[in-house]
Subunit: 419 residues, 2 copies
């Protein structure tokens, strides 16, 4: 059997996207109660079929282990009864969230008597491209569906069996509830051609959200003709201002680096004000090194830093450290190297805090708090589909609302516009 | 002298975009009062230099006439003392509008005491690509500047002298007010290469808004690596329901077609319900033909309609007309051929009105009102930069708010995230 060509894959993706577009039209008018019933039923169905899902997942895990996949990636891929309970708990949590669809976001009566309302509506068809984490398959469906969208899931080929098992259950639940099952579909994952086809399905797909490494994201941005939302690249900084409390600074930096080094809100560069260096440099670097963090710095006694280190998103127990000459220098450094994710200042000075928050351009700007807080659950969204680092449409943690658009409703009784 | 290459043009555009990015950082922290002073001063300066602007414009107009440009296009290009007064009046109107920057759009105190606020911030650098209308040069600057953005203007080569004269005045006013003059710049317009360079200036330009024909828009969508907002393609429909008042339907259709046929909110296709056809077809078509409108239809006695007619955005005194078999058929037709701009129903039935507004997917959906109302000024925005027909970020008429993003501010006193 020869490998499918881009044309073959495009035909498959186009068919699935066309069906999803058709399904999305009926999703837009489901009531909140109807949507919640489906989400609850999907959770029950996955719980009931846990053994089937675990068996499918075991196949994926065996294949990954046989291929010598890194243990941390196999761990992300692996499902357990507890993790399945977590996944279905997530669906029930989404069912309990307020429905953004139908919210009136603006409105008034115009002088000519026209009644104007701006209401939230689903986007239509959402595409997700994501890594080998089967939980994202169900989360992606749950959040998209609650916001009234059909979803095209392009998971990793390493999770193909798990994803297929989960999507089969979801489609069956939809059918049982007399909802068009094409509201969720799994795209082929053998090659990146299905990503290419997805991001070029203009007119059928309303937005594609890629999750993954810089390579995937830049390929998507380059080749996409459908709108996309960039997520997740975080070269986050913590700036220790001259007036910082050293204990607070140390605690925040330790939390932001060592709590979970592999996530995007991890701090990657610490900037220490020259005026704070005498007091702060010792305690901070000692604490980091005691936890096994490798420090890359121009300061003596550390791994020498190169230009590359200021750009790096290590996602590991590494950190870059620079002594900067004041607030302006810190802000300039962040403007040059930051990725617009999360930037923090530690200071006791109100002036410095105001200056920093006003001038630093990022999805989240923090004062005396750990960068680890940039997270949909922490912000109280109840669900998160990623953290947008772009400025259009959504910025920062994205919840249900970010998967909606709006439309203007204009009701009249025969008004025409004067010449 | 050989023509500049794409590389040459890209170098010029990159320099201007880099300078604009730098300028945008200082614009973000200007107060509303500072911005309004600049806008008022710019209006005064253009009024004072009206003769210079008119002289530059005369050069453009002469060149266009010598090239045999269509009279309607020359008319758009032409400035008069009255039109200059309109332009400067527009700047003063923008100065009087509320400043979106700094508005708090969400906020709360989290259980751990973190103080969370989502505030509106400028997008950064906005690019406009537009037709030969010198007023857009000033409007584009005014709206972008009020929202705290630097702006890169890529006008038409036909308006090169007018645009250069206007931008020179704007830059001088900025300098006088100690604002970085690179907050506004005119891109070269000799070739489309400057558009290509602009839409690929990733990391420097935050959004590009193309105004113009379908050719420009699809080229931008295909080649852009910076986010873009599509504007303006309107294949708008009016559906005359079985329960429509024929007089109201006729009045609305006449207004929507003949008031200004060349604009995007013009109706292009009339759908008449089979049940209304006996009563409505005669009066509506008679009224249209009396005003010189050519009707393209499968019904007898008109220009025969082809598949192409259902897709056409005529922007002229032409209209497509189809008799449809009920509400579902009307909605299906609109889903297939509409461009998501403005769709209207004429009906006395509340059920039909609800059904139509819920199921039709467009930037504006109207009941018993002319499609001509889809307009920023009519909606009360005070200023408009175009009508978005996409679903991401902005949908429908775009005002100042649509030229902003948000950022999350998180203030704490040392909070770290539990493991």
């Amino acid at each position: 059997m020869s490998a499918p060509t881009l044309e073959d894959v495009t035909a498959v993706v186009t068919d699935l996207a066309t069906a999803a577009k058709q399904a999305s039209r009926s999703l837009a008018t489901l009531t909140t109660a109807q949507k919640n019933s489906v989400l609850e039923a999907a959770a029950d169905a996955i719980d009931a079929a846990a053994d089937t899902v675990l068996a499918a997942n075991a196949t994926d895990v065996e294949r990954a282990e046989a291929a010598g996949t890194e243990a941390s990636l196999v761990d992300r891929l692996r499902l357990t009864p507890e993790r399945i309970a977590g996944i279905t708990g997530g669906l029930r949590q989404v069912a309990a969230l307020p429905d953004p669809v139908g919210q009136v976001t603006a409105g008034k009566t115009l002088p000519n008597g026209l009644d104007l309302r701006q209401v939230r509506v689903p986007l239509g068809v959402v595409g997700f491209v994501y890594e080998a984490r089967p939980n994202v398959t169900v989360d992606g469906f749950g959040i998209s569906f609650k916001a009234g969208n059909a979803v095209l899931l392009r998971g990793s080929s390493s999770a193909a069996d798990s994803n297929a098992a989960l999507v089969a259950i979801l489609r069956e639940v939809l059918t049982t509830h007399k909802v068009n099952a094409d509201a969720v579909a799994l795209l082929p994952s053998e090659t990146r051609d299905s990503v290419t086809a997805l991001i070029r399905a203009r007119g059928l797909v309303d937005v594609v959200i890629p999750r993954g490494g810089a390579g995937l994201i830049s390929a998507v941005v380059r080749d996409a003709t459908v709108p996309t939302i960039e997520t997740g690249t975080g070269n986050c900084h913590i700036y220790v201002h001259a007036d910082a409390d050293v204990d607070i600074a140390t605690r925040i930096i330790m939390n932001a680096k060592t709590r979970r080094p592999s996530v995007c809100n991890t701090v990657e560069t610490v900037l220490i004000d020259k005026a704070a260096a005498d007091a702060a440099l010792g305690p901070i670097t000692t604490a980091l090194q005691a936890q096994g963090v490798v420090i890359h710095s121009d300061e003596p006694g550390f791994e020498p830093a190169t230009e590359d280190d200021w750009h790096r998103e290590y996602l590991s127990l590494d950190i870059a450290l620079k002594v900067v000459d004041g607030l302006d220098a810190a802000i300039d450094h962040i403007a040059e190297y930051g990725t617009g994710h999360t930037e923090a200042i530690v200071t006791g000075s109100l002036t410095a805090a105001n200056e920093f928050t006003a001038r630093v351009d990022a999805a989240a700007v923090m004062v005396n708090a750990s960068t680890a807080f940039t997270d949909g659950e922490q912000f109280g969204f109840g669900a998160e589909i990623g953290i947008s680092t772009q400025k259009l449409h959504a910025r920062g943690p994205m919840g249900l609302t970010e998967l909606t658009s709006t439309k203007w409703l204009v009701w009249g009784d025969g008004q025409v516009r004067p010449a």
